[in-house]
């Protein structure tokens, strides 16, 4: 089994995601980077807020969620903070014959982000990198050759100096 000595504590976003862009991305506000809630937050006190970064990713996803053979967006997502020049790995279970579309977004339009996927042995998997007219969003389409565990690698280029809040959403078909 792989070691996880430096687990980065980003929560699975408690996001109430709407499929359409007209719907807001809401989540319970929880400071990133903490597995446990801070002491001042207590049960039932979390306030729903718009998850703006997730909304950016959803806007990029919209075109792929309609049409003859649309991707089906999952309600689950991931989020966290990332420093320029750094990367994070997200472990996933994917299934053969499906196509998966991932989107990563950060808020700063000057930022550049990359998304790649690796198999259970750490080898990069062929996919289609999707580029948009803004650098702070990137997509990846992958068709796994076998069912099993995969690792999505997200990274932030050094085109910005400050750490960025990030969000990753995905869809399948």
């Amino acid at each position: 089994m792989r070691a996880k000595p430096l687990r980065f504590a980003a929560s699975v976003v408690p996001g109430v995601v709407a499929l359409s862009l007209l719907s807001a991305s809401l989540h319970a506000q929880r400071p990133e980077g903490e597995i446990s809630p801070p002491a001042e937050e207590s049960a039932g006190q979390a306030q729903p807020v718009i998850d703006e970064v997730k909304l950016i990713a959803q806007r990029a996803a919209m075109a792929s969620l309609t049409g003859e053979n649309p991707f089906i967006l999952r309600e689950s997502s991931w989020s966290g903070m990332i420093d320029p020049g750094k990367a994070r790995l997200i472990q996933l279970q994917l299934f053969k014959r499906n196509e998966y579309h991932f989107w990563m977004a950060v808020p700063d339009r000057d930022a550049g982000v990359n998304v790649h996927i690796y198999d259970g042995n750490g080898e990069i998997v062929e996919g289609e990198n999707i580029r948009y007219d803004v650098g702070n969003v990137a997509g990846l389409i992958v068709r796994p050759s076998e069912s099993g565990v995969y690792y999505l690698r997200i990274s932030l280029q050094t085109t910005v100096a400050t750490p960025q809040e990030w969000s990753v959403i995905y869809a399948y078909r």
């Binding site: 319970a28 062929e126 076998e146 069912s147």
Partner: protein, 267 residues
């Protein structure tokens, strides 16, 4: 957070490229590298993700997998959380079978279970949408609302700091979907399809999460059985050198998951 002007701009696709290895993107990563920063938090695949793949091998008899378990609630919230996850997975199976009556019944059960868990207020609109859309055979809407219902409950549990229940809802959902998948594969075995049960890392993660739950939240005989069954499934749900899971193992997975699901409903 102030609304960012970024959101006002449209985002247009400008191109696709096959694996453009951007600056600093490695072709291989050492997963045991202690400097790798993994994102904590798992997303469990919903049954439809798996069913979608299986249906590409040919149409399956999902109607046969639609179960009608009677749910008797008690004060054990852990069991209720498992039942909630199981019921959502039954909803996904009923959608796949396009069984209107089953989906409507499940929509009502979802509301009853969420009431017992104290999160009905967040779920009610989704449960009503499930029932309404099923009546009109709007299966894509039902599918979306089921996933929203599931995620809404997980979010609410997380807000309430009920992380143990979050894990149990996820486990119940996975178990119900795996029960149906293994049953379909048992009835119509194919080497190709068996690969969908190759989930050793996912089972290990579910098992570890379950074993990390406090003893208090795992009280009752059925919870000891869950632990043992997950241990057993971890050894079964792994492809061999040919990339397949044998028919014998598929039968065993189908039996183990069916018995565990029944034990949870009947406990």
């Amino acid at each position: 957070m102030v609304m960012n002007k970024t959101l006002l701009f449209s985002i247009c696709l400008v191109g696709t490229v096959h694996i453009s290895l951007s600056q600093g993107t490695p072709e291989k990563i050492d997963l045991k590298d202690p400097n790798i920063q993994f994102v904590d938090g798992s997303v469990i695949p919903i049954p439809l993700e798996i069913f979608t793949s299986l249906d590409k091998l040919g149409s399956q008899d999902w109607a046969k997998q639609v179960a009608s378990y009677e749910i008797t609630l008690d004060t054990n919230r852990s069991r209720t959380a498992m039942l909630f996850g199981l019921t959502i997975s039954e909803g996904f199976i009923a959608v796949q079978a396009e069984d209107k009556e089953a989906v409507r019944r499940i929509g009502r059960e979802v509301l009853r279970l969420s009431t017992s868990l104290g999160v009905a207020g967040s779920v009610e609109s989704h449960a009503n949408s499930i029932v309404h859309a099923a009546g009109k055979s709007q299966w894509s809407v039902v599918r979306t609302e089921l996933d929203k219902t599931r995620q809404t409950v997980l979010n609410k549990m997380a807000e309430l700091r009920d992380d143990e229940l979050v894990d149990l809802v996820s486990l119940g959902g996975w178990l119900g979907g795996t029960r149906a998948l293994a049953s379909v594969l048992k009835e119509n075995y194919s080497v190709e399809g068996s690969d969908l049960l190759n989930q050793p890392d996912l089972v290990k993660q579910l098992k570890d999460d379950f074993n990390a739950i406090s003893e208090r939240a795992r009280r009752g005989e059925v919870f000891a059985r869950i632990s043992k069954t997950l241990e057993h499934l971890e050894s079964l749900m792994r492809t061999d050198a040919n990339g397949a899971i044998s028919e014998g193992k598929v039968i065993e997975i189908a039996l183990s998951t069916k018995q565990l699901v029944e034990a949870i409903y009947e406990s």
